[in-house]
Structures are given as C-alpha cells and as structure tokens.
Symmetry: C2
Subunit: 470 residues, 2 copies
C-alpha cells in the first residue's frame, strides 16, 4: 500500500471523500434541462443531508435555502461540487479552499481537454487547493457515487450499496455502467469519474478500491495513465485479491488521437498496454457489452477450478455451434463420467436428444422444463466438469427457480452461465434483471456466454499461479 | 441453374411447394401442449384454406371436419404435414402417396438422427414417395413458411411477406430467426427447415431461394452437405446477386460430433469449410446474435463503396474505444474534408467535443439532439467517407426521425449503422423494432455495429471483384 502526499496510506487519505458530513453544490439550479438540476434531483432522491445549494442569483432551490457564496454556509463543508460556467470555476475553487472544504469535485468542463489555456487554469486550481490541503476530482467529470453515504451520481444509479467499484476517466462510462447495471440489480460500493485528473487520478482511486473492504470487484475505463509502472504493479497486486474488468480506450493510433481530445490522456503503445494488462491479470474488455457481460459473471459466479465445460442445451443447433465457439476459445468439452451419462439417460428421451457433451435436451425440454434441473444437477456433480453453460428458451420465474433449485444442493460450487433465448428481445430484456438479481449470470447469446467462461477461467488461472496464459 | 429429377429447373420444381391449393395435417390435434395443436393454431391465424385435419380418432378439431385418413379427403391435396407418432409416420407417407400428394413435410422425428434403424425407415419413405412422384421435406423438421401463401411456421412468424429467405438444417434456427426478426419488423419471403434431408436438402432450397424473385437476402444454418462442390459453386453464384448470411455449425471436431446426433450430418473439415465460405462470398456468422446483427444490416443498408468509416458519437469514451475496434477490424477512419470540418465547427461547441473523426458531439448532443442530424448530414456528404457509425443515447421516435431526416436528402446512399445506448436494456429493446422497421440498422453496442460495417464492406468487395480478402 503506497503512501499519499500526507504520509497516510491512499486508503486513509481518500476514504473520507466518500463520507462527507455535508455537501455544497456550487452553481446549483432548479431549471429543467440543466445538469445542476439533475444533480439536485438526485441528491434529494438519495436524501443526503445537509445539502447546501450555492448560487449568487437565487434564494431558494427546491425547498432548500441557497447561499450566495460557499463562504456563507454556517457549518463545515466536507465536499463541494462545482457546476458553474467554465469562467467562474476557478473563483469557486478559491472560495472552497477558503472555506476549508476537504474535497472539490469540478464537474465543469473546458479545461485541460480544451487546450493549453484550460490546462493552465486547472493547474492553478490544483496549486490553490494544495496550499489549503484540499483535494480535487476533475475537472470535466461526473464525480463520485457512494450509495452507503447517500452520495448520488448524475444518472439514477440506485440507492442500495453493493460490492462493485467503478473508476473511470470517462464520465459517460461511469454513468452508463452504474445506471444500466443497477437496472439489472447489480449493486455498487463506489463509482468515481476522474475526468482530466488535475489532482487525483484513476490510479489513485484504483488503489483505493483495491483496499476498500466494501469493494469486491472493480470495473474501469481508462485511456492513459501518467505512471505506467505504478498502474501495472498496483493492478497486479489488486488482481490477486479482486478482479479488475478494464476497458482500455485508445489502443490504436487513431483511437489514441481521439483520446487526447476526449480526456487529454496520452494513451501509449498498444503492444506495451496489451502485455501489461495480461500480465497484471486484468480482465480486458473492448466494449460496453463486454464490460457488462464480464461484470455479470464475476459478480454472480465462483471461479472455476479448470477449463472443462459441460453444455446443456435445449436447442440442438446452438449446442453444436456453441461447442465450436468453446473449443476455439481454448476451453475443453470432455466426456461426462459414466455416472452422469446414466443419470442423463434416465431423464432425456432416447429419440431427438443427446446424453453426451454437449447435451441436447431435445423438444422434451419444452414439454417438461424440469429436465433442465435434473440435467444441471447431474452435470454440476460431474468431476470431469469445471463450468456449466445452460442454453434454454424457457424464461423468467420458471427458469430462475430451476437454476436455483438445481445448484442449491451441489457441494462444489461451479460457475454456471445461462443463455436465455427468448421469443423476442423485449421478453428476454424483462427476464434479465430478475435472473441477475438472483445470482444467475444470464446472456442473450451463447457465444457471449462461452466468452464469459473463458474470462472466468483465465482469471482463475492468474489467481492460481501468475499471468494469464492464453 | 441446375436441373432436378424431373428435368425441370430446381426453381420450377420447388416453387409449387410454396403455393399449395390445399393442405392436410396428419396427426392433427386440438390438445393444448401438443405441437400439432400449435400448428393448427398457426394455420387458423394465417387463414389458410382449405385445411384438412387428419386423425383416425377425432371427428372435429377447432371447428374443422376431421378425416380419418388422408385418402378420405374429397379434393386434391398438394401439401401434407405429418405430425404422427414415429411408428405411424411411414404408413402416413404411404397414404399421402396413394392420395397423390405433391409434397410431404415429415415433422415427426426419430429417424436418421436416432440411428441406423431410423435411417432405413426414412429411406423407405423416400423410395415410396419417389415412385409416386411425391417430394419429402424432413423428417425431423419444422417444415416451410411462406406468408404470401398463408403457410405458417410453428412459431408466430408474422403474416406479412418480405424479402428474407431462410434455409436451415435446424428447426430451432428457422423458428427462432423468423420469430425474433419478425418481432423486430423484418419480413420473410420463405423459410425452410430441412431436418434430416431424406429427400430434398438445404442445398436444393438454397438454389431455389437464389432464383426466387421474392427473396433478396438469405439467412441459413447448416451442419453438413452431401455435395460440397455443388454447395460451393452455387453459393458463389448466388452471392453475386444476393447476400447469404450463413452459420456453419460443427466446424470443430467436437462440434462435428455433436452435429451427427443433432441432424445426422457429416460436418467436414474446418479448414476446407472456412476457405470455401470465404471464397464463395458468404457472410459467415458464428452465433444467433451475429446472424441477427448481419441480417439487420443487409436488410436495411446499401452496400458501401469502400471501407472508410465516419464515427459520430455522443459519448466520448465510446468514440475512442470504437475507433480502436474499427481499425483492428481493418476499417479506416480518414480525416474529414475541409468542408465537413467547417460544417461541424458550426454545430459542435468548441469545448468538450471534437470535429475530427471520430466526432465527439459532447454533452451538447443531449441538450440539443438535432445536432445529430446536422452531423449525419455533413458526414454522409463527405466524399472521404463510405460508411457511417452513429453512437447515441437518444432513443425511440426522436432518433428515428433524426436519422431518416438526415439521410433523406443525401444523394449517394451510404450505409449508416446506429448504436443506441439506452438507460436500461429494456428501454433499448422497446426502441429496436421501431427503428428496424423504419429501415434503420440499430445495435445495442458499438463494437457489434463496427463488425457489421466490416461485413458489409467485405461483401461489397466480393461483389465488386471476387473473393473476400480479409
């Protein structure tokens, strides 16, 4: 654990940020369509108190007394969020420092990412803040989310606290991940959008989340880091305890160019990055869909002991095609034990199905959905199998009960991922939150479910012995 | 165009199958939960007449007179669908041949896919049928769908006729593709599930769809073909006129083993298959999701003139990450023309956005969604750009109007694919049918949208000059 500016550990230094006694919002507004209004709505939904809106031209906002300057607030302010226009932000920072605010989130943009002049202004913000012992998050960010402290995000990210920590150089990533995953019943410990990282940066918060006892799993988006060595060593240490699902943007030259205008980050060489991510045991993702897919697996599943997959499929064609995908990903589909085959013979009709791996449950799976349960139970107990992939068309409550019943009594917990092929995208979408909130990792397509198993196994390999080897 | 058994072209020989004057259902039933009941429901929904239910133990089914044997039906029967138990199917085929039925769909399973004895029974079916000039589809299949003739599938695949033809050795594939895509407002010309291919096979129907003037685009699933050379040459010829989106199951050894118990097909060597598919200009897919993704692009988009992509993104991080994906797929992201950059400068705020490729519309895209329209219009007219990728969080009706307005007046039509990142999966799912039914190709993730552009370009390359080269 490294030491921060103050000689304290990063954890001790950053943890108070997430537990402020009071919050001020500079540039607060009740006007519909303004970001400041959205944030006020969120704070009121969360019920955080005391909250001090600051705006030189208002006296009351949404039932709260407004202060014309943060310096007028009677008690101490631990966290200030600046949403003023760009040209008023530096003065707002000065006022916050005078007020001895502990942390300032500068949401306002138009600084380092906009060019040289903006970069100078944000440097000046940091200089002033440091003199007063104040830390800055941003500018150009959506700030911090911590449901256990009633600190909201701009998006509606849920009130319940959970185990996923998010750190992101992109505000959209942090918002989108938390909002979408919350709607799917995944719960978060903390989320931090660092923006231009004028003071605190993504690696600081990565280190914090690594130490944070509330956080068991980390999802992140970065475009570049100032200290690559620190990032690598830290990630490698954290990965030994908690999975880090990371999307690194700007791996290609054109992507790196785009990153400069996005967050001002220098993205660095692709080969170096790819090697470092792999050796640090990071679960690499390349799109939002991959981040969600991996998150839903690591959140709900144990790590596998090996790479031997058992496929249980209703649809025969998907059994065949998914077998191809698994093998191409480097997974194995071994034969079941004699005992398992015997059990399967008793439940799967001799015509139209298959008791070998991949299991084809045949049309019988529609007539009698409970054969899913017996098949899962049999395969979950097979010592030749490390992970299960269930492919089915039955949805909702029935599928949830079958999966939970089938796995409840199996002693050696193995990852089980479910592919739910509904009649329409809409029907499947309705079943997703139900399943995910019950501890079931569910995907709309079997190729994605197979890829998830590969990621679970890769990470398990890293945890067992070092770097990821495929 | 090859000649069939009778000396006629395959098209002339198979087209009457899809235009029967009358249909008999052998093994018809009104019992809930029986497949035969489901099929009766579908026939009544479609309104096909005259329909003759045949069942030795019933006198009326769902308001229709039941015949104890197909031979008792007064008028001619062009199409018979056999849903009897396995051990009654051969006798049913004999009766159909005596009745001079033109085509028999044997839905019943338990034949070639179940072992040697079943294979002999299906051979006997074919021998008897051939003597009477009758053709057989199946056994072990879900038959044929042709909305223009009111012929239903087992699934609810819609009443309206369209341009997509489906041929599949898997019944589930045929059902799932038609049902799901219909729910997304994609319309089909014909769909055929060939099952065990005792007589007519997937390649016959592929040739038919290639010639069928109603069919402009083909989606298929195959595990193996008897005559690989014929398949290759035929696919190559069809691909010069119509795209074939094909999922080949059983590419790996274990996948091929699974295919034998699924449809009894011999899957063949992977290297040979991969080379043949590529050289035949086939749009290869490896999962249901890929089939849908490509279908929604080829159904709604023109072919591109080149591989130069213009990205227009609301979220900055997705712009960066998607640039990476495009370049890794072999696509290009060139600079925009000076004229385009000038236009973009007038609509995108100087702070927080980017007028270069990839365009970052910044938060302004949320405040004023109409800048999407101006940006699309500008990029669509840029002669440096062949294809557009729009990434947005605005959904539904508003997005549809923006995209349609922006592209309506652009002379040189270019493919435009949309990534719609909704707040939750469920919201996005509701917007999909709306967009797809309006001619907009929409995806929930930008990496998938990028892959679709690659496929459009690959196929355009094939059409322009021969085999696919990446």
């Amino acid at each position: 654990m490294s030491k921060g500016m103050s000689g304290k550990t990063i954890f001790d230094e950053l943890d108070p940020i997430f537990h402020p006694r009071s919050v001020a919002v500079l540039g607060a507004s009740a006007k519909q369509g303004k970001i400041a209004r959205v944030l006020m709505d969120r704070f009121l939904e969360m019920g955080f108190k005391p909250l001090y809106p600051v705006n030189p031209r208002e006296s009351e906002i949404m039932g709260l007394r407004v202060f014309h300057n943060i310096k007028d607030v009677p008690g101490p302010v631990d966290l200030a969020i600046i949403l003023t226009p760009t040209d008023a932000a530096l003065a707002a920072v000065k006022d916050c420092v005078t007020k001895k605010v502990k942390t300032i989130v500068v949401t306002t943009s138009g600084f380092g990412e906009a060019g040289e002049q903006g970069r100078k202004v944000q440097q000046e913000m940091v200089r002033i803040a440091r003199k007063g012992g104040t830390r800055i998050i941003g500018p150009n960010c959506v700030g911090i989310y911590c449901p256990s402290s009633k600190l909201p995000f701009l998006c509606q990210a849920g009130k319940d606290s959970g185990t996923v920590g998010v750190v992101s150089q992109s505000g959209f990533f942090a918002d989108f991940i938390t909002q979408t995953a919350c709607a799917n019943n995944i719960k978060f410990s903390k989320a931090i959008s660092c923006g231009n990282e004028a003071d605190l940066n993504a690696v600081d918060f990565l280190e914090y989340l690594g130490e944070d006892p509330e956080t068991e799993l980390i999802a992140g988006y970065i475009e570049g880091v100032k200290d690559g060595r620190r990032f690598y060593e830290l990630s490698r240490e954290i990965s030994k305890k908690k999975p880090i699902i990371l999307w690194k943007g700007g791996l290609t030259e054109a992507g790196a160019r785009a990153a400069v205008s996005h967050t001002g980050a220098i993205a660095g060489s692709r080969a170096v990055w790819e090697g470092a991510l792999r050796q640090a045991g990071i679960v690499g993702a390349r799109s939002f869909e991959e981040v969600f897919d991996y998150l839903y697996a690591f959140y709900n599943q144990p790590l596998p002991k090996g790479k031997r997959v058992g496929i249980i499929s209703g649809p025969g064609s998907t059994a065949v095609g998914t077998t191809d995908i698994c093998l191409e990903l480097g997974l194995e589909l071994p034969h079941f034990s004699k005992e398992t085959v015997e059990k399967l013979r008793r439940i799967i009709p001799p015509v139209g199905g298959s008791v070998n791996n991949p299991i084809d449950l045949s049309l019988a799976s529609l007539v009698n959905p409970l054969i899913h349960k017996d098949a899962i139970d049999a395969v979950a107990r097979d010592k030749n199998i490390d992970m299960l992939l269930l492919i089915t068309v039955i949805g909702g409550e029935q599928l949830r009960e079958i999966v939970l019943d089938a796995t409840r009594n199996v002693e050696n917990k193995k990852p089980l991922v479910v592919t739910l092929m509904g009649g329409t995208t809409q029907e499947v979408a309705q079943d997703f939150p139900l399943m995910l909130g019950s501890g079931i990792s569910v995907y709309p397509d079997a190729a994605r479910a197979a890829k998830v198993l590969k990621k679970l196994w890769e990470y398990a390999e890293f945890r067992a012995g070092g770097s990821i080897c495929i």
